[in-house]
Amino acid sequence: MKNNTILCIAAFLIALSGLLISADVNATDMEKAIEQEKALREGKVKESYGIPKFFVSPPVFSEGMFPCSQCHAGMEPNPERRELMFHTEIAEGFDHAEEQRWCLDCHNPDNRDKLRLVSGKLISFEESYDLCGQCHGTIFRDWKAGIHGKRDGMWNGKKKYRLCVHCHYPHWPKFQGFKPLPPPENPRDIRYRKLSQDETPLNPLGDNQDYEIPLSKEKK
């Protein structure tokens, strides 16, 4: 008697585990994923997201602007905040912690074709993310992981990245809005024509034109 109950319970448990394993996802995949996640959390493997290698295009400059040394080579660098004679639209629109900063806090005074980090390290315009990342650390981290910013390419292969400056103009970086595409049609604006007597409403075998419900759209 007792044995029977135990057998029953055992059989039930085995059946149940069978059902659980056949659940939504292949169980071994899930186990593997859980193990990897555990290792990550326990610090056994390190989560690392490097600087991406594939950019859609080089940084954008207004025409004829780059290299900056074309004009700046012979000029004495002047760090003073002042009214600019050139680059006036930048000075006027400047909206990026403008109280705390001026040109040479990011642009390198001696060789204008380079940018300069706070550490004094010079970087090229292609690596400008390092400059932005000095202040926007959390966003920089997300961007490296592929979370902040637009990405295209392959979800399981090569991905194309964009530089910060492809979407955010560095001197007034706030994303500029634009017109949305049209809203969906409101069903109340769609009219169906009444079927005449000899029309069949639906063709069970696919859509033969003869069997169509003709649609016409008139606004009220």
Partner: protein, 311 residues
């Protein structure tokens, strides 16, 4: 839970029922199909097997028949893939609510990629607008979907695009009387347009309003047709069948596979996509590091679509 277990049982029951029906249907069909129009392909279509029961040869024949049918109808050469789910892949989607600006670029990229009917209009993605500070998540009634300002984003509002959430336990699949919709091993919920009878039970069952019905004949201008298709995805639809987002099955089921069209178009990068079983994927990073929620989680649908707040 035991999706596969139950499915098999139910399916075999249903299929045997179908076999019984076949005999009767044969008699009925000969009445329904007018003589003269009934060429071989019409008969083949009528007796087409369930997609999951077909072997490779049978699939090939069906694809050939459909490609011929579409060539005649649209004057365009279609490529219909039947690529299978890759083992070790479970697709997950992320949408950053702190980024989306409600520009609807995703809506129309999806329409183009997936051959949605232009007139009557079908959109798989709906972008909802909410007033900031209002009660919203489970009260989608407050949402506005016809907003049309000169510029988005608007001050004081935020936006939430909704599409098929590819539920882990999809209510639409449970209610389909013909098993015309099911969940694939990589998590995509698909529809077989040749098995859908248009009863729209699934539309009633979907808590996200993600399914669309072809009330009229789908219309697309020839030059806008996307000829690269998947049998379970963006191939042309018929009048009277249901359709919905498939995470762009024709793009993502490749190795390497492209991102879904909506991910690729989004100008602010609000849309993220990847393999939930790969701990280094973008979607796993999001789940681990961001504030994430799933829509109407209390319904136990277990969506594979994660809304998150990037910052």
């Amino acid at each position: 839970m035991n999706r596969k277990g139950i499915d098999k049982e139910e399916r075999s029951k249903l299929l045997s029922r179908r076999n019984v029906l076949k005999g009767t249907a044969f008699g009925l069909a000969s009445l329904a199909i007018p003589f003269g129009t009934a060429d071989a392909s019409v008969w083949e279509a009528f007796f087409q097997k369930h997609f999951q029961e077909m072997n490779e040869d049978e699939k090939k024949r069906v694809v050939q028949r459909l490609e011929d049918e579409y060539a005649k109808k649209f004057g365009a050469k279609f490529n219909i893939k039947t690529t299978k789910a890759e083992p070790g892949v479970l697709f997950g989607y992320g949408l950053d609510l702190s980024r989306c600006i409600g520009c609807r670029r995703c809506v129309y990229a999806c329409v183009r990629e997936n051959n949605q009917s232009r007139d009557p209009q079908i959109h798989w993605i709906t972008v909802l607008r909410f007033k900031k500070g209002e009660k919203w998540v489970n009260d989608l009634e407050e949402a506005e979907k016809y907003y049309n300002p000169d510029k988005v984003p608007e001050e004081g509002y935020f936006y939430m695009p909704v599409q098929c959430q590819q539920c882990g336990s999809p209510p639409c699949v449970k209610v389909c009387p013909t098993q015309a919709t099911w969940k694939e091993p990589d998590g995509i919920v698909v529809v077989d347009y040749n098995w859908c009878i248009g009863c729209r039970y699934c539309m009633a069952a979907c808590p996200y309003g993600a399914r669309r019905f072809n009330w009229g004949r789908p219309n697309i201008q020839k030059k806008e047709i996307n000829q690269e298709t998947h049998y379970l995805g963006n191939r042309p639809r018929y009048t009277g069948v249901v359709e919905k987002c498939t995470f762009c099955i024709q793009r993502v089921r490749e190795n390497p596979g492209k991102y879904p069209a909506c991910v690729e178009i989004c100008p602010v990068g609000a849309r993220k996509f990847g393999n939930l079983l790969d701990p280094n994927s973008e979607i796993r990073y999001i789940i681990k590091h961001k504030r994430v929620f799933r829509l109407k989680e209390d319904l136990n649908t277990k969506p594979q679509f994660y809304y998150f707040f990037g910052s």
